[in-house]
């Protein structure tokens, strides 16, 4: 079942076309990768989906409903959550408080009291591996933990779909492997994932399918294997001479 669909999404900013007539489909239960060179429009597309701003043209369908013109908080409550490329924890709050906010205002937020949300947050922090750092102030964490917290907040919202924006950036190899395991765990728990990434090691191991943006346009869409060997993709990323992206 297609849980999230974008049709003809276009986003213009005063003369610059950041996203140009992009179609995509996200099947429930899969992990879909979104790759492309810097400036390709990936984060802009995610911003459109999550409601940071509406598309100039086009429509986004979530479980069949049109959501393109809804506000960010409404989309968050409907069941789509996201992480930010430059992580945005709430600096003055502890790790536990950060995750609790997600549980309080996300998809199931309405039925929960503050206390229940805090309990839910504790569970989720254990799930992502931050169980022993719950009472530390968020701005005192290292980068890997901050990324985990960002993910925890997104999970705490109880989403059906999660948009991960370059969560691997700045992580070393060990941390990347652990992040890959976490992402798979998240998918196994029932959340469908759209992941923007530059780290090819992660993309290969985690994505079922990939679509590629370049200068705002979609230039490839298919299985991981197909896409990473596609000539156009290779040309866009690394130039004509490079033989294959697959190491």
């Amino acid at each position: 079942m297609v849980i999230l669909k974008g049709k003809n999404i276009t986003k213009r900013f005063a003369g610059l076309v950041a996203v140009d007539q992009v179609d995509f489909e996200l099947e429930q239960g899969e992990i879909l990768g979104l790759i492309g060179p810097n400036g390709a429009g990936k984060t802009t597309l995610v911003n459109v989906i999550s409601g940071t701003y509406p598309p100039t043209e086009g429509e986004v369908f979530f479980k069949g409903d049109k959501i393109a013109r809804l506000k960010a908080y409404q989309i968050g409550r409907l069941g789509i959550s996201r992480t930010f490329q430059i992580v945005k924890p709430f600096p003055g709050m502890t790790v536990k408080e950060n995750a609790s906010v997600g549980a309080m205002f996300g998809a199931q937020g309405k039925e929960r009291s503050a206390k229940e949300a805090i309990k839910e947050a504790e569970k989720i922090l254990g799930f992502v591996g931050l169980g022993d750092q719950m009472d530390i102030l968020a701005d005192k964490l290292n980068i890997a933990s901050r990324k985990r917290l960002e993910i925890a907040k997104a999970i705490a919202m109880g989403p059906d779909v999660m948009l991960l924006d370059e969560v691997m950036a700045g992580l070393n190899f060990t941390e990347i492997d652990r992040a890959i395991d976490l992402i798979k765990k998240i998918r196994d728990s029932g959340i469908t994932i759209l992941i923007i990434e530059h780290v090819m090691r992660a993309i290969k191991r985690v994505c079922d399918r990939i679509f590629v943006l370049h200068h705002g346009q979609k230039i490839a869409d298919g299985s991981t294997e197909e896409v990473l060997n596609d000539k156009q993709v290779i040309k866009a990323y690394l130039g004509r001479r490079y033989k294959a992206l697959v190491a």
Binding site: A72, F84, K88, M93, E97, A114, A117
Partner: protein, 322 residues
């Protein structure tokens, strides 16, 4: 209920009791002084809701004080209503005004929000100075309270005290509920708050309305107490600055900080004016400067961190200097 929470409740209860019995042991002047402190504590605490917890530093909160005062004056003097009714109307009116003005103005951030609220307060003062119903610049007399002199002092003290307790209780309840978390999230990172499912517009406006409500109530009591009000004193930007200084000095973003700040600043001011008849405001200005440089986080930070001294002061400067 844990031991610590129980202990906190007991401490609060004791403080409340001693405040309640305070007037019985004091002369009229001291009672009036105490009433003034309570009034500023209300305003500082109310400011704290929008400025401290939500992070929207309003520079025009005095407008609610003035609106509350004038609603009370007009309803009691011109419509002949009693104080209870006027009091409630003043609170409601201020809250409604907060919502009306908040919707456009809360879209602004930082300095622009501050200046916009300042502009609203000054515009309102100018408007009141020119309207007939408010008697323009001549001022309005209110009916006097029909009690003995001592009775009047008691009355205003307890009404202010009750209003302060209401302000603090509501703030406390709000803080521990989801709403409180949403305010702090907005302060820390509004875009992130929106993404996480918080309706920031709704939350900010409600916070502003609460802030306006309690400030308006303080204005209402003040008007009845003074029995005569003019636009200048009840809409002066100096009051806003005073409530902000008190909140900062006591510790913004903490429940009792503003109250502590109000008590300290008023007591210090009073001592200064007794010793330095002419220059006491001068020393007050110096106090503001020194405290913002050395203890920007307020007294509450000193109390919770249990630190003080040269190292603490230098740490603060090192953190904030260019």
């Amino acid at each position: 209920m844990g031991n610590k929470t129980l202990r906190n409740y007991v401490i609060c209860g004791l403080i409340l009791l001693s405040l309640a019995f305070f007037p019985l042991f004091a002369n009229n002047f001291i009672i009036r002084f105490g009433t003034d402190i309570l009034m500023f504590a209300i305003m500082a605490s109310a400011w704290n809701i929008i400025g401290g917890y939500t992070g929207y530093a309003s520079f025009g909160n005095v407008v609610f004080f003035g609106i509350g005062a004038y609603i009370t004056a007009v309803l009691m003097e011109k419509a002949g209503l009693n104080f209870a009714f006027a009091f409630i109307a003043a609170g409601m009116g201020s809250a409604i005004f907060a919502v009306i003005i908040g919707l456009p103005v809360l879209r602004l951030r930082g300095h622009y929000f501050a200046i916009a609220t300042l502009g609203v307060a000054e515009a309102m003062k100018a408007l009141v100075q020119n309207l007939d119903i408010t008697e323009g610049n001549s001022g309005i007399y209110l009916p006097m309270l029909d009690l003995s002199v001592k009775g009047q002092y008691y009355f205003f003290f307890y009404v202010m005290l009750g209003t302060l307790v209401a302000t603090l209780v509501v703030t406390y309840l709000v803080l521990n509920a989801k709403f409180g978390y949403s305010l702090i999230a907005i302060r820390e990172d509004e875009d992130s708050a929106n993404a996480i499912g918080i309706n920031a517009t709704y939350a900010k406006t409600l916070a502003f309305a609460l802030s306006g409500l309690f400030t308006g109530l303080a204005g209402s009591v003040y008007a009845y107490q003074q029995a005569f009000i003019k636009p200048g004193p009840v809409f002066t930007v100096g009051s806003t600055l005073k409530m902000i200084v008190m909140a900062v000095f006591g510790g913004i973003g903490s429940l009792f900080g503003p109250l502590l700040g109000a008590v300290s600043i008023e007591v210090i001011s009073e001592i200064l004016s007794n010793y330095f008849l002419v220059a006491h405001t001068l020393f007050f200005g110096a106090l503001v400067i020194l405290s913002i440089v050395f203890i920007p986080k307020g007294i509450t930070d000193i109390l919770t961190q249990k630190k003080i001294g040269l190292v603490y002061f230098l740490q603060n400067i090192r953190k904030n200097r260019i």
